[in-house]
Amino acid sequence: MSKAVKSGTAKPGSEVVKQEDVIVAILIADSFSIRFAPVTDLKPKALLPLVNRPMIDYALESLLLSGVQKTFVYCVAHADQIRLYLRESKWMRSASPMSIEVISQSSDDCRSLGDSLRDIDGKSLIRGDFILMSADVISNVQLIPILEEHREKRKTDKGIVMTHIFKKSFLGHRSRSAEEELVLAINPTNGRILNYQQSKNLKKLSFPLEMFKEHGLVDLRYDLVDTHISICSPVVLPLFSDNFDYQTWGDFVRGILINEEILNNTIYCHQLEGSYAARVSNISMYDAVSKDIIQRWTFPLVPDLNRSEETPRHTLSRHNVYKQPGVTLGKESVLEVDVVVGENSEIGEQTYVTQSVIGKRCKIGNNVRISNAYIWDDVIIEDECCIEVALIADGVCLKKGVELGHGCVLGPGVKLAPGTKIPANTRLMASPPKSENEFEISDEEEENLPAPVSADSIGYVYHRPIEEDSDVESLVDELWGLEIEDDTESEEDDEDEADNDEDEDHEEDLEVGDLPEDMNARSFYNEVLESLQRGYEEKIKGDNLVLEINSSKYAYNVTMKEVNMLVIKAMLSLPSVMTKKGGSGTNDDWAALRPILQHFLPVLRNYLKNNQSMLDSLEALEEYGVNNPKFAKITCKVLHYLYGEDVLHEEAILEWHANPPNDPSAMTTIRKIVEPFITWLEEAEEESSDESD
């Protein structure tokens, strides 16, 4: 055995060299995400049609056009379907200039890009540099020159492990995926990546000073988009194997950059000039890439140059309207612009279609309006339906007069009864959601058992399993089809910073005494004060004020404790703020404060729900009293009033009183003032407990 191996490696040395010369690509035919659910429940993402062609075709086509000679297709979910598809396709024929090998792995063993590369490393299939690409990437990039560039760089930098390909695309460009926002620091002289950050949820980006010191010249780029194509040195695979925590490409890059000094590994970036590359990472990107294909940015990967023999070519007419043979178009129907219609589809009369893709064998009735929709094969849409911004999977049937809201996704086999209206951003699937999964359904959920969206329909609302980043995803979904650039937020925080700036220099605010030091809390406080003042003057309902305060809370990211304390303080300071003078120290203060507190009782009740929040509010009361000695005199009255209104509970007050104050001076002032009230409380409690005994 060992002999055989020895001879195998020693003798045909030429063969080894030869194998290294073969240009190899690894195509990962799984995105390890559920962005396309429920559509991908039954079909792998790689086989989803993108402008009437399975996605994987585009990836293989672009590898072939680049001159790749051998491709390993690595499949995880629904591997059998991909294998079957490829076996039947032109790719596996002996005449194909590119040989394909399918590797499959069960989804239990492989849950990420890292896992799959570790698996490939274990199989030791790769010896030389290779191209790593995801099967949902559409590109017309010539990869060989970049591979050559990678090899050239290795002559000067032995540690090069990867050249990753980026495309320049400015903010607001449709091919920028909202989910994958990144900031790169690049050395402009050689293209080395010095820092990589996903900036999606960041407001501030931080870069180590060391990097600037070391390199002198650093470009910070926010306009680059990850194409998910990389040229890798063979060492990439063992690096993944050595580091089990590398799950994604991002992990890998960060790991390499952190360990840069130890391992001396470097990653370079290649910026595309004039070629196209994008990844269909979510439905918004599906939309963007489809449009790019229709508008021919991806040339030669366009519908009318479709090389596959199974599907007849599309013919292209004006305004980017593509039709396959057998399409019938009814009287007065219009295919306006950027429309693709598949084989043997029928479109009825007076139907209007724009910027949409319609699959094969679809039947579309009369008076239907379709815009920005992706309709797959065998879909039936009856008369007077209205579809705007939607993805409709195979075999869906929409009866007469169905209306879909913006951004709906209908899974395969969904049937909607006549006149059904689906709200925006709904995802429907044909079978009710499985209840026998490992998460036991809680009592509350059992009440609303899954029901079809309307009578006589087959369509159940799909709920995405809650993930850590679920809010991020939902945001992306909502944005789909709506061309709104969410820029307001950034402008606002510009203002904030500028204002703070001002404050630092010349703050001469109204004397409130105990403004929180933290900038955020301070801004929050000001905002709350403003809301309350307006709320009181305009007699706004408590609930609305709560909403307003809560939104400020999120805007300034303050803790619940701070909210409780600051709301109380704001209320207490309201009389002096409104009259622009400090308290007089007399009972007049209480007369001024009482109606205010009364008005805000609902707000207080909302915030002071449990013991802890009450303690917070008492602490705030105390702090406010210490800082405003004039107010201190009426503390007792406030306390009594709030107790009387059941805002503050007896237990909380007693607990607060039992604990020593934060500020020792409070002992002599506030505590003394409230002493009578506390004694009264204690007596009352004794009495009540006596009674119960």
Binding site: L171, E210, F212, G216, L217, L220, D223, H506
Partner: protein, 456 residues
């Protein structure tokens, strides 16, 4: 008159250690000419006919005499600070605010550069820039040149300059020292800034020439805001940051109907930067008609719709160095003499008439006696000096009225005015300020009067 020029010459030169003990920095000689001569010459070459100069009072006569002495036509309008007043550059600007009528060019007296100023002005003019700064690329060797005196760790003040790659906009400006002192060790940039400028080039090896072209309204803003003391340290970063603040212009329009009510509050309230901003309506209108834009990639108007904008002119070639540290001062002397004929073709230097061995890149002042057997290399010798027999001088700066007696070796040192080095000394990398007695051997020392040392 489109621009007024201001020279800030009241700096103490605290980093020049003993050289500036009794002389202001602006009068220290570079190639036997007072430092401020270089600024004046540069302005004169750029076409300025007069210049505002801010100096300390006690040197007024001496400085006022400089144009006369060296044949400059430029007229000085001198503003004096009292002897012990220490004014920052922004304070100084506030002092002369009544004299400022137009946009100004502010330079520091320690700048020597041959970069054509009209290019900076062009940039300023083209983009209606609020503040335009000049940066030059420095070679690291220059920055690390050895200096005489005690060996200290050379701490260069480096700035991180963020420039937009599409336009020469100045996106941020932070000094490395600031970041390090705050113990952050990192640079943070708001994402909204990156949204406006998705391609930022961060340059760590640029030299800020402390040459700024400043709009009139910014000057007004500075004079109103007493909290500013320094241009470079405070005003510039502030203005650069303010670029991203949204102008509250629209609100003002809205408020107009109630103008009579708000007059009082306007007067009492602190005026914010935008109330100073004087826009050119004509230009705004032209821009609104024009399809021109300064950047690509988004739908924002020219200059990202920023009313305040700062630009940086980065000189790729040309010479530019500031004599703000001892190292740079020495280096400047060496570099300027090398480039003299190209930088100042109209200012001829008379070659020394002497039998002594004088190498290249040397400058010998008038009335200086060189004995026949001395050798001088890469050095500058002032006026009325006396250099004895068999003296070897390499890489030195010798100021006026210095006597060096025979058989002495001087290397990499600075000899201050009126100092004397007696026989057979061997002095290397020192600063000499008094009499050094015979047979003295010193390296990396400061040889000045003892009483002065006490003072320090």
């Amino acid at each position: 008159m489109e621009y007024q020029a201001v020279i800030m010459a009241a700096g103490r030169g605290s980093r020049m250690t003993d050289l500036t003990h009794d002389r202001p920095k602006c009068l220290l000689p570079i190639c036997n000419r007072p430092m401020i001569w270089f600024s004046l010459k540069m302005l004169e070459n750029a076409g300025f006919e007069d210049v505002l100069v801010i100096i300390h009072e006690q040197f007024k006569a001496e400085i006022a005499d400089i144009p006369n002495k060296y044949g400059l036509k430029i007229k000085l309008d001198i503003t004096c600070l009292q002897k012990n007043e220490d004014y920052g550059t922004a304070d100084s600007l506030r002092l002369i605010k009544d004299k400022i009528k137009t946009d100004i060019l502010v330079i520091s007296c320690d700048l020597v550069c041959d970069i054509p100023l009209h290019k900076v002005f062009d940039l300023h003019r083209t983009h209606q820039s609020s503040v335009t700064a000049l940066f030059s690329q420095t070679s690291p060797e220059v920055m690390l040149a050895p200096a005489p005196g005690p060996k200290t760790k050379i701490k260069q003040e480096r700035d991180l300059v963020g420039l937009d790659l599409q336009t020469p906009r100045l996106v941020f400006l932070v000094s490395e020292a600031d970041l390090t002192s705050e113990n952050e060790e990192e640079l943070s940039i708001r994402k909204s800034v990156m949204k406006h400028f998705p391609q930022i080039s961060v340059q760590g090896n640029l030299l800020d020439a402390h040459l700024y072209v400043i709009k009139k309204w910014v000057c007004d803003y500075i004079s109103e805001n007493r909290s500013f003391t320094m241009l470079k340290g405070e005003v510039l970063p502030h203005i650069v940051r303010k670029q991203f603040t949204k102008s509250p212009k629209r609100n003002i329009d809205k408020d107009l109907p109630n103008a009579d009510v708000s007059v009082i509050s306007l007067n009492t309230a602190k005026r914010d930067i935008f109330s100073f901003l004087v826009g050119d309506e004509e230009e705004e209108r032209i821009r609104s008609y024009s399809a021109w834009n300064d950047h690509r990639g988004d739908l924002r108007g020219p200059y990202q719709d920023h009313a305040i904008r700062c630009f940086a002119y980065v000189a790729k070639e040309g010479f530019c160095l500031r004599a703000n540290t001892l190292n740079n001062y020495c280096e400047l002397n060496r570099q300027v003499i090398k480039r003299w004929s190209t930088m100042f073709p109209d200012e001829e230097i008379t070659p020394p008439v002497s039998k002594a061995q004088v190498g290249v890149d040397c400058l010998i002042g008038e009335n200086t006696q060189l004995s026949d057997k001395c050798s001088i290399k890469h050095s500058i010798i002032g006026q009325n000096c006396n250099i004895g027999d068999k003296v070897r001088i390499t890489n030195c700066i010798i100021m006026d009225n210095v006597t060096v007696m025979k058989e002495t070796t001087l290397q990499g040192s600075i000899l201050m005015k009126n100092s004397v080095v007696e026989n057979s000394c061997d002095i290397k990398d020192c600063i000499v300020g008094h009499t050094v007695h015979s047979n003295c051997k010193s390296t990396n020392e400061v040889l000045v009067d003892a009483d002065r040392l006490l003072e320090i």
